[in-house]
């Protein structure tokens, strides 16, 4: 048994399982920081996974599929934005509806497109994060496994830094944060709560769908109804555990990603623990973490509260 190789494998696996969660959690962070609760991550990820797999299959390009998924997610979450921002609907109800809608549409279309099968045909993968000369060098060494790290993973982690900078160092970030905390203040200074929230919710849908697309393109290589299977909710847990910050979301996604990797590593045919129990691990961990470590007070104050001028 080669220890460095195993560590590299765990490392790669953790990053792989972290990536979809991280995209979705970052999307959730953007939306919630602007004051719109987004429990629709699950539905958006499912649509993203479906779109990603099928578009990349038909176009034979993982990149096109990946991007198309983002736009599909933004389109679906537009419903959430219209309902919650314009019509001030209950954000939990709207999010729940979109979760069902996202799952339903994806399965329906999969059956239509792939001749009654609930499984899409296998799609091309996204390329490795490392350029050719690096990966050639790694070949044959103990660290060869890390070649499997996808470019999308790299992008997700860069996005963490970018979002942190955007939220806490730029004027647009300041306005988004203010909208989530005290929308009337933004309004009184001539900003548009309406525009800011629409922008954030759409970005949120785009990113969550990228997470789903990564799952179907690079992890499972095809879309099936169980591709996402609760990861949207784990991402939601991650963003709460991460205290509504991009960097916090990253660390908690890494934790959940690692848990997921553990289930694959420890499971298999000769594992001592039942596979079914192991597969519960990420979900149990999510619940445990939320019960043990989270105080409500850290959420943006105006999250879940529709804004009307009369409420000033």
């Amino acid at each position: 048994m080669r220890i460095p190789n195993n560590i590299a494998l765990i490392f790669v696996g953790t990053l792989m399982y972290t990536t979809p969660l991280l995209f979705a959690a970052l999307g959730g962070v953007i939306s919630e920081l602007s004051g719109v609760m987004n429990i629709a991550l699950e539905g958006i990820m499912t649509v993203g996974a479906f779109t990603g797999a099928s578009v990349s299959y038909f176009t034979n390009s993982a990149f096109v599929g990946f991007l198309a998924a983002g736009f599909a997610g933004a389109l679906l979450i537009l419903l959430h934005a219209v309902a919650c921002v314009t019509f001030r609907a209950d954000q939990t109800i709207s999010g729940t509806a979109i979760n069902f809608l996202g799952g339903g549409i994806s399965i329906l279309l999969t059956k239509k497109l792939f001749n009654g099968s609930a499984l899409s045909a296998s799609a091309p993968k996204l390329p490795s994060a490392f350029p050719k000369f690096v990966s050639n060098r790694l070949k044959g060494t103990d660290l060869e496994a890390i070649n499997a790290i996808s470019i999308a993973t790299l992008f997700a982690f860069l996005l963490v830094f970018f979002l942190w900078f955007f939220m806490y160092r730029t004027k647009w970030g300041l306005r988004i944060l203010a909208t989530g905390e005290h929308p009337a203040a933004v309004d009184s200074l001539g900003g548009s709560v309406f525009k800011i929230r629409y922008f954030c919710v759409l970005c949120s849908g785009f990113l969550a769908a990228l997470g789903g697309a990564f799952m179907s393109i690079s992890v499972t290589s095809s879309f099936s109804p169980v591709t996402i299977c609760g990861q949207g909710f784990i991402a939601l847990g991650a963003l709460i555990f991460g205290k509504w910050t991009p960097q916090g979301a990253m660390f908690s996604c890494l934790l959940f990603g690692f848990a997921r990797e553990c289930t694959t590593m420890l499971g298999g045919q000769n594992g001592f623990v039942s596979q079914a129990l192991l597969e519960m691990l990420p979900y149990v961990l999510t619940i445990a973490v939320l019960i043990l470590f989270v105080g409500r007070s850290l959420a943006p104050k105006a999250v879940g509260v529709p804004y009307t001028k009369d409420l000033r």
Partner: protein, 522 residues
């Protein structure tokens, strides 16, 4: 009284060539059926402090919200420095140099002072990247210039209310405002903070800023303001030079209304004290002391009126008596038994009933039927329920009985959802419920709010009936004539203190008007 002064006499005080900084002319504004403003004029001279005086709901805030671009007037026009303008959104108002310090602060609690101040007009370097260093420096300079010292790196949630208000003022100045509107600026401040604020206002005026201050505290107007425009029920009464009038006269102009005099029921000289409050101190949700050492006594067969302008601690007083709010110190005794900081259940069992201020929010369950609302406080008692099972037949009988006795319309409404009843009839249901368990003390907070004349009469009669039955009644109302008409004795509450207790027979509306705004305090 000499109140014959008009706009003309006001203008004599001013140099003729001066152009008004703000001129609002014939402003009308309706919200649905509610005609909030009906032709209000306002002229504010540059560099002056101008008070906008009026009772709650008179239309002061609406007028200022129009000036700030939150609402748009239906009719009328506005000029800034002599130029007619059309302000359609808050951003435009800011561009015209108008800034408002809201009563409920528009501050993001988790942000620092600097972040709050620059929000919306950030100092940046490169593409949108905030230059915190420069912002901190410039805001510090600005705060020194107006002697409004603040620590720009401190988070707002760690600051006192007075400091938060400074941040709000700085926020407005940072945007280059020449005209500052302060909405009830001292409502949330301690007296020391209020003194500081008045000094700040003077400083600003001497820096040639124009200030409009919305208020109903006359002593503060006397202390800092140059002019005062009085608004009553959406119409302006007149604009005066503050120095020409004393506090009593200003107070009388604010509250003047038709006085309906009904012969008051003779007080039976009772000796038995029902409610006794001693040195009560209560804080509001923000931790500000809203009741500061109040002592009161209500005797059997007596109506004690608590008069005062809104937000002077009335709500906290009632909440303390009904155990909805924690008492910091002091005692509340009923029949000599202390009840403060216990449970509402204990309050009810001790024989206290309360008519809440907001019947929709805390008086009734709007989706429940009339009968269910009638037994809200007694649903656990036999015979209404046994072992958790409610006796619908008995409950309906009980409700039918009350509906007939209290003349609640429409008849046979026991099973109708209460939201279908008119406001007056909803109030009757509350009164029926609160009176039917035969309380020793009835606490009535604004019992006639939003009711028409007939319903008001009815409520008053019911209160008198309680009085006849030798019950004690604590009546809290913002309507001065209601207090004057109903009470045997009147306690005037101001800034969380009872500043006077007078016999209702031995006072006048003028005296009360002055007392209510903190004037004439010995």
């Amino acid at each position: 009284m000499e109140l014959e002064r008009t706009e003309q006499s006001l203008l004599e005080h001013l140099p003729a060539k001066n152009v008004a900084a703000v001129s609002m002319c014939n402003i009308h504004k309706s919200f649905g059926k509610n005609h909030a403003l009906r032709g209000v004029d306002l002229n504010v001279m540059p560099g002056t402090i101008h008070a906008l005086l009026g009772e709650n709901g008179a239309g002061k805030s609406t007028l200022m919200n129009i000036l700030c671009g939150f609402y748009h007037q239906d009719i009328g026009f506005i000029s800034i420095n002599g130029k007619q303008v059309n302000i359609t959104n808050p951003k435009m108002a800011i561009d015209y140099g108008i800034g408002m310090v809201h009563q409920h602060f528009m501050l993001v609690q988790t942000f620092t002072v600097a972040q709050n101040i620059m929000l919306g007009s950030e100092l940046t370097k490169g593409i949108g990247v905030i230059d915190f260093k420069r912002a901190n420096r410039e805001i510090t300079e600005l705060s020194n210039e107006y002697r409004l010292t603040v620590n720009t790196k401190k988070k707002v949630l760690d600051m006192s209310v007075g400091m938060q208000q400074r941040v709000e003022i700085l926020k407005v100045l940072y945007r280059g405002a020449e005209i500052l509107i302060l909405d009830e600026p001292t409502a949330v401040l301690t007296s020391q903070e209020a003194n500081d604020l008045m000094q700040i206002m003077r400083n600003l005026a001497s820096n040639n800023k124009t200030i409009v201050v919305i208020t109903h505290k006359i002593n503060e107007i006397k202390r800092v303001c140059d002019f005062c425009t009085i608004i009553r029920r959406g119409e302006n009464v007149l604009t005066v030079h503050v120095d020409d009038y004393n506090e009593q006269q200003l107070g009388a102009m604010m509250v003047e209304r038709e006085i309906v005099s009904v012969p008051r029921l003779k007080t039976t000289k009772s000796k038995k004290t029902i409610l006794e409050i001693k040195d009560l101190v209560v804080k509001d949700d923000r931790g500000v002391k809203k009741i500061n050492g109040v002592s009161l006594e209500v005797k059997a067969g007596e109506i004690l009126g608590v008069a005062g302008v809104d937000e002077n601690g009335q709500q906290e007083l009632v909440e303390a008596i009904t155990c909805l709010r924690k008492v910091e110190s002091g005692t509340i005794k009923i029949h000599g038994k202390e009840i403060q900081n216990t449970t509402t259940k204990n309050v009810i069992c001790s024989g206290i009933s309360a008519i809440p201020e907001d019947r929709h929010r805390s008086g009734l369950v709007m989706k429940f039927s009339v009968a269910e609302n009638m037994i809200l406080k007694r649903y656990k008692e036999k015979p209404f329920s046994r072992c958790g099972r409610m006796n619908k037949i008995l409950i309906k009988q009980f409700a039918d009985d009350l509906i007939e006795k209290f003349d609640i319309r429409p008849p046979n409404c026991a099973e109708i959802p209460i939201k279908k009843l008119s406001g007056g009839n909803q109030q009757k249901v509350i009164i029926a419920r609160e009176v039917s368990n035969n309380p020793d003390l009835l606490v009535a907070m604004q019992p006639t709010r939003g009711l028409d004349i007939g319903a008001i009469e009815y409520v008053h009669q019911k209160l008198w009936e309680q009085k006849k039955k030798e019950k004690a009644i604590l009546l809290i109302s913002l309507e001065l004539n209601e207090i004057m008409e109903m009470s045997d004795r009147i306690a005037v509450i101001y800034n969380g203190e009872i500043i006077a207790v007078v016999e209702a027979d031995a006072t006048s509306e003028e005296e009360m008007g002055a007392l209510m705004v903190g004037g004439g305090k010995k």
